[in-house]
């Protein structure tokens, strides 16, 4: 399930909804991304997330689909916020459920790595010295690349 929203989310309620009534879930993995108060040694007062309505939902759905193709998952949840956030606020929640823990944990790692470079969000940080756009990081590209192998290569071969 994909949710792109301005408002916050209730982690406990979201995680509970994924397992409620489904007693074949053995493991649930989750990752929460939060706004940090420091960036490049500057104090951050706010972060504004811009996104591409319409495409965002499509991209997140494609990333969810990819995760489901790679691991035997029972459920996938991606909640990504946009708009103005402050340090300590939660930006994103990814969570997966599976019969076994390996699939749940690995797929969460995959989801957040791909979100970093494939979800159409841009971050504007505000500090005392003004506003600046967060630059994409090579390390995020590398992390996403790490998962590139199986199905993308399959696609290239065909």
């Amino acid at each position: 399930m994909i949710k792109v929203q301005e408002q916050g989310f209730d982690i406990g309620a979201e995680l509970a909804a994924m397992t409620e009534g489904n007693h074949s879930v053995g493991g649930q993995g989750c990752f929460v991304g939060l706004v940090r108060d420091m960036a490049n040694e500057e104090q951050i007062s706010a972060m504004t997330l811009e996104h591409y309505p319409g495409m965002t939902e499509k991209q997140l759905a494609a990333i969810e689909e990819e995760a489901r193709n790679r691991w035997p998952l029972q459920d996938v949840l991606i909640i990504h916020r946009y708009g103005r956030l402050e340090p300590g606020d939660r930006i994103v929640l990814v969570a997966t459920t599976s019969t076994h823990r390996e699939a749940a944990l690995e797929s969460c790692h995959f989801l957040i790595d791909w979100l970093k470079t494939k979800a159409p969000f841009w971050k504007l940080e505000a500090s005392e010295t003004g506003e600046s756009w967060v630059a994409a990081r090579d390390t995020d590209d590398d992390a996403a690349e790490r998962w590139a192998a199986p199905s993308e290569n399959e696609l290239e071969k065909t």
Binding site: M55, K116, T117, K118, P120, F121, W122, K123, A136
Partner: protein
């Protein structure tokens, strides 16, 4: 043609969305970007380095040599920073 701009491409150009009708010889993303750069200083500044520009046509990621048609929604933006 619907043009959408995001991130620092949007702030440099000064708008997030505009409807333009490029000449008939603008048939792919690369020639569109070159044409846009002639529209003013903001465009020039926003689009000068092709290596940091990402493009989506009708909300699908494409390469710079992808074809475009008059009715398309073309979005230009910096590398994404989700998550």
């Amino acid at each position: 043609m619907q043009l959408l701009y995001f991130g620092w491409i949007r702030t440099r150009i000064g708008t997030g969305r505009e409807t333009l009708e490029p000449p008939a010889d603008i048939t792919n993303v690369k020639t569109l970007v070159e044409w846009l750069k002639n529209r003013g200083e903001g465009y020039q500044e926003a689009l000068e380095d092709l290596s940091v520009i990402r493009v989506a046509v009708n909300q699908e990621m494409v390469d710079l040599d992808a074809a475009i048609s008059p009715g398309d929604e073309v979005a230009l933006f910096p590398p994404m920073t989700g998550g």
